[in-house]
Amino acid sequence: MKNALILAGLLVITSLAVFGQGYPTQPADALVFPVGVAGTVYEDMELGVRGGTITIANIEDPKGWNDMTAHETSTTYFTQRQHRGLVNLDHISGAIVPDLAKSWEISDDSLVITFHLREGLKWSDGEPITADDVVFTYNDLLLNLDVDTNGRDGQLLPDDTYPVCEKVDTYTVKFTMSVIFRPALNSLSFSILPKHKLAQYVHKLNPEVPVGTFNEAWTLDTPLTELVGNGPYIVTDYQPNVSVTMTRNPYYYGYDPAGTQLPYYDTHISAIVTNQDVSMLKFRNGETDVYALRPEDIAILLPEGASKGFHVLITDQPGYGTTWFLINQDVGLAEGVDNEKREVYRNVKFREAMAHCIDKETMIQNVLNGLGGPQWSPVSVPSPFYAGRDYYGGPITENNAVIFEYDPAKAAGLLDEIGVIDADGDGYRDLPSGAPLAMEINTNDNTTRVASCLILVDDWQAVGLNVTFQVVDFNTLVDRLFGSSGDLIYLGLTGGDEPNSGANVYNSCGSLHAYRYSACDEPDEIDTRVDELLGIGANTFDLDEAFAAYVEYQQLLSAQLGYIYTVVQSFQYAYYDYVGNAFKASPTSTPGGNNGLLMELCFDKRLL
């Protein structure tokens, strides 16, 4: 730790030389986090002091420093600490909150959103941040087809157009939409990039550079002094396969109520540790300050915490991810085979029988070491739209999704009812025609998924279903997911607060509507209604109306059993006691998580 402090000191001196001195006084338009303010979600947090270094472990090297072309979290972990957007999702409160924009207005027809930027702010190199940077980022990068970015898809409106971005004045921009689309506000949280540094790489602004030059801008071999941002930290050192060091941005506009500029930590080091076991050892050795643990780590870390001075936070809150299996209702369709099997798979009673065989309690105990819960709805549990709430953003009170309790007898009854019985006396149920019904469930080489599949197979076999299990390579699994040759597939997807972000999964023509792609051409009543509800939920700024639509959406999908949800791991986190405010860690907000807000508010208590 002494070495880390020396390093921090050196980096601060270096960074002052590179960045400049920062704001002489707190800007009038600073973003103030209500730390310790009663009545806010930050009220139980402490005011901290600046200084020190926080070290965490990241599993992979970043792939570059360009937020626009970043495709995965190992990169956005750094770029989104370096760049902030107009708005941000406050993962502590779950609300869309002002960031670079101090406020916004939505026009009466809900088609125009006008953002007012904070005035007098600067990039980390001292250049002013203005509306030109926002317009550049949106029009010249995000919507520029030469730029290789996944962010463009997030801007797409339901009528396949994009919001039109225009500068109103130096500190005002407006986005005009052709249709009402509430999730657009979430999408407008994209990171704003500095025009004065990056315009030179964009062919449409600088024809001297070839098309696509921007995609190769700010790669890992770019001199780090070139990087300029508006976020709390700027990358100042990168040792491939070893570590990334970020140093505070002297022009970051976040402050606490006492007028202390954030972030509290001067330096944030990410050690690249690919192996999770080693990552845990490094935490136990005091090399990292926080650690997102696995269920199997609990038994080791809990007894050690008191003597080593760290705390293990165990919650019953799950994260955004979802875990499911699907029954391929288009099996053999492309090949023109397995017609009867397909008919059985398409029978909702068959899927109900399969769902009644899921012993979620055993899965939670045996696979997640008791640290998890059942999942029923396609919407992530932390989402304010989760059907288990009574109203938008309310506490989780009951489960409104359709639940299929573990009931093998009921499953057997349903199978008998649809004629899936053991016709030849071999101990396995057959198709109604008497032909054997053999199924295979596949997953990839993931210990949690493999263990879950083994429990499922046991329970299905107990009711006479001939299901076997095979682990396949991840890419093979994805190929099967998109093809029609697979039977049953066990996988997981990322989730989020806004159900519409999963439109690609549940819309009948979505590219991830993997349980029945044919629904695009032959939608049934439920498919049609789900498509409608996705639209209703997104096309209103009235959150109660959106909530009502999404509750019905969740009820329909959980009853339809396209993706059949299983269990979800709850959140556990370990941190050394000297990391102030780390207790506020939650599945949606961790000091080491991809959202940087909590990291900005963590501090070193030893400096108090």
Binding site: V242, N275, L281, S501
Partner: protein
């Protein structure tokens, strides 16, 4: 000798061509491609995926892709750009000091394992079936049979949990403490590097050494039973001269020959150890490329490892000529 090396290098070219073709074929046979995981992202549309497929040239036929790859190397010396990092592949593989650390770790481990293996092998052979031979043999088998990654993990666990090195401010894994990177060499940096490297040498070195000890022991035992050794003894030479001057010099030849295979083995075979021990090596970048199916980097990595094979073989030839005067390359 120079002609020989030149000839060997030229022979390597068609071999590299065949290696590259086989590698390219294997990569293409593998299910999925670089964009497979993007297909599972609910927020990525089909249009974006299609644009990326075209950008990376993944929509072209296998032959066209291979032909273009080869043409760019021959005409422009361009080995391609990493899909993942958007950097030229050599930067993606060697960024930072990865090449230097790879070469240093491979060579230092090689030297250390030979330095230890040869005397231990000689000792073991000259003390055949004695308790000390059994102990060395047992340790040899142990070294051969413990998977390196597991050994590495156990070693780190012992340091952290049993010896509690963290309480003394010592870190584990990597090649030095984070704050020493970028600093000029000093005594404290040097000792810190040694502290971090000894587990590397132990883990990679012992498994390599185990095989070498067995080989040295077996060769020396064979040699010791040859008539010329009996003649030497009959001439009244001391046992020391018989063993070290006559027997060992012949017994050591196969060890020198397999040095050519050992060197690339140390580079590519220690990938998993590099992951566990957090070593900044080329193998780790190569492994990451394999996982993400970053084809240009995989191809460049394979050529790099083939190059190491060539270097290893040439090195072995040099050493063989040095230890055995009968061998000449003209």
């Amino acid at each position: 000798m120079l002609t020989y090396i030149l000839r060997r290098t030229l022979y390597m070219l068609p071999l590299l061509l065949v290696v590259s073709l086989i590698s390219f074929t294997l990569i293409k046979i593998m299910p999925g491609d670089y964009l497979t995981s993007a297909r599972l992202n609910p927020q990525v549309t089909e249009e974006t995926l299609q644009a990326q497929i075209e950008r990376f040239g993944l929509d072209r036929s296998f032959i066209v892709q291979y032909g273009l790859w080869l043409k760019n190397i021959i005409r422009y010396g361009d080995f391609g750009t990493s899909f993942d990092t958007k950097m030229p592949v050599y930067r993606a593989l060697f960024l930072g000091n990865k090449l230097q650390w790879t070469v240093f770790i491979a060579f230092s481990t090689l030297v250390l394992s030979y330095l230890f293996a040869i005397p231990i092998g000689i000792y073991s052979a000259t003390h055949q079936y004695k308790p000390s031979d059994h102990i060395v043999t047992f340790l040899g088998f142990l070294g051969l049979s413990i998977p390196n990654f597991f050994f590495a993990l156990v070693l780190l666990w012992i340091l952290v949990v049993i010896f509690k090195v963290g309480d003394h401010g010592l870190t584990v894994g990597g090649v030095m403490d984070l704050h020493f990177y970028g600093e000029a060499m000093s005594w404290s940096k040097f000792t810190n590097i040694l502290w971090h490297l000894w587990p590397v040498w132990v883990v990679i070195g012992t498994s390599n050494m185990a095989g070498l000890i067995r080989l040295m022991r077996g060769n020396l035992l064979d040699t010791l039973s040859l008539p010329y050794v009996k003649t030497a003894r009959a001439k009244g030479l001391t046992e020391r001269v018989v063993i070290y001057k006559h027997a060992v010099r012949n017994a050591v030849n196969p060890l020198v020959t397999i040095l050519g295979l050992t060197l690339p083995g140390l580079v590519s075979g220690s990938v998993v150890v590099a992951i566990v021990l957090n070593l900044p090596t080329v193998g780790r970048s190569y492994f990451a490329a394999l996982q993400r199916q970053d084809e240009p980097v995989i191809m460049a990595g394979l050529l790099f490892f083939s190059l190491f094979l060539l270097i290893g073989n040439v090195l072995a030839d040099f050493l063989l000529a040095w230890v055995d005067p009968r061998i000449r390359y003209d």
